[in-house]
Subunit: 253 residues, 2 copies
């Protein structure tokens, strides 16, 4: 069995724990968090640790903590074996250079503790400081995901920004619509088939071809009518995204 | 059988035709478009018409054309029977007051001819100028959709704006990410599980609770790093949506 130590107790750490601990190829021997109270999800209380000095020898150390804390935690750790990898989309691999064997194990997904995920479907983006370490990480990642990619630090940054656009920002557009529906006595439910279709459409069409709406049609009458209904905040977003659609589709005025 | 005439040959008219003509309760006796070449999708060539004077008596006339043309076409028509309804999200019902029996039949969905839809799942938002006409429209709508709502003109406008946010704008965010991935030699495919999860998440969580990301965490370091990577257009969108997330979540700086 491959021995794994998980550093962190946030959303990513939680789901990595679920995935690795349910796989018989792996033994998650420890999960670290400074506050043990956040480690309830670790079945065996003896595997919950709150001091980095307690970390035992393992084959893989996954550092799934806040970006700004990675380098510091890596410094505090004293590892003698295995590979250490962080799970951040935006941190370079080099923050782990203290260790001979290091890399990145970035699962490209949005995680919430209250929403189970199927790790098999989650792209895992790998980087390592040697071909040998990359090979090891690939072997490990392939056990928990069907979608393993080799992605260098620059590409990973680009992916992370893209993820903000497709996930954080589109989710926020749903939140704004939800807010606006509430103000107009409409159930958000009524929009869900449309949201579903928005996602379903890009399974067969590329998003450029899937575009519809008043911005694309350059339907100024509808655009003006919409703007009149919106508060300043939503108006700003509506204007800037309308302009951006027209720019991308070569319909600049 | 309920006799239906469809005015229009765009995406909405096309899918209404598919849905009504496949339902044995209905007989789509005619489909109108000024340019007959766009009526290929109507099986029987004799049912394709290009002059409004050709329109025969029917039980329901569905006007699925550009917003600005609805009133004009209604004026040109000379109907003696049935109910006339337009399918626009943004036009008031009153553009059809020329006729004693009128209303709105607004399917809240994004339509492309090359993407089949299941009309049963599409919310149909109804409005009518009398209780009797509303009842008739409800009976008809219930034959083709499981999701029939009564929505007044003001609410319909609000829904239409919301639809732009959840569909047009989020699709555009995907298009921007696609564009950005291409520039960084990354396959857009790698983002699809994340996009799928974004949508799947709001089936169990409301979008406010589903929010994640650097804006919500107020992770200024990541936000600055992202902004440095983006061109001016994407930078503007990134900034404004980040601010809006922080505002909605009470994290204004």
């Amino acid at each position: 069995m491959i021995k794994v130590v998980i550093i962190g107790a946030g959303n990513v750490a939680f789901h990595l724990y679920q995935s690795f601990s349910q796989n018989e190829q792996f033994d998650v021997i420890q999960v670290f968090n400074r506050n043990k109270a956040h480690l309830d999800f670790v079945n065996d209380p003896k595997r919950r640790i709150s001091h980095l000095e307690e970390v035992k020898d393992a084959d893989l150390y996954l550092v799934a903590i806040k970006d700004e804390a990675i380098e510091e935690v890596a410094k505090e750790l004293e590892l003698k074996t295995g590979i250490i990898a962080h799970t951040s989309g935006s941190q370079p691999m080099e923050v782990l250079t203290k260790y001979e064997n290091h890399g990145v194990f970035y699962p490209l997904q949005t995680f919430s503790k209250n929403k189970p995920v199927n790790f098999k479907d989650i792209p895992v983006c790998l980087e390592a400081n040697s071909q040998e370490n990359l090979k090891s990480l690939k072997k490990i990642a392939a056990q928990i995901s069907d979608k393993v990619f080799e992605v260098d630090s620059e590409q990973r940054k680009a992916l992370h920004v893209s993820a903000v656009f497709v996930n954080n920002f589109s989710n926020h557009l749903f939140a704004l619509a939800d807010d606006y529906c509430k103000k107009n006595d409409l159930p958000f439910e009524i929009l869900k088939p449309l949201i579903k279709e928005t996602f379903s459409k890009i399974e067969t069409l590329d998003p450029f071809s899937a575009q519809t709406g008043p911005a694309l049609r350059n339907d100024q009458k509808t655009i003006s009518a919409h703007l009149e209904l919106l508060d300043d905040d939503k108006k700003k977003i509506y204007t800037i995204l309308t302009e951006s659609i027209q720019k991308l589709h070569g319909k600049e005025l």
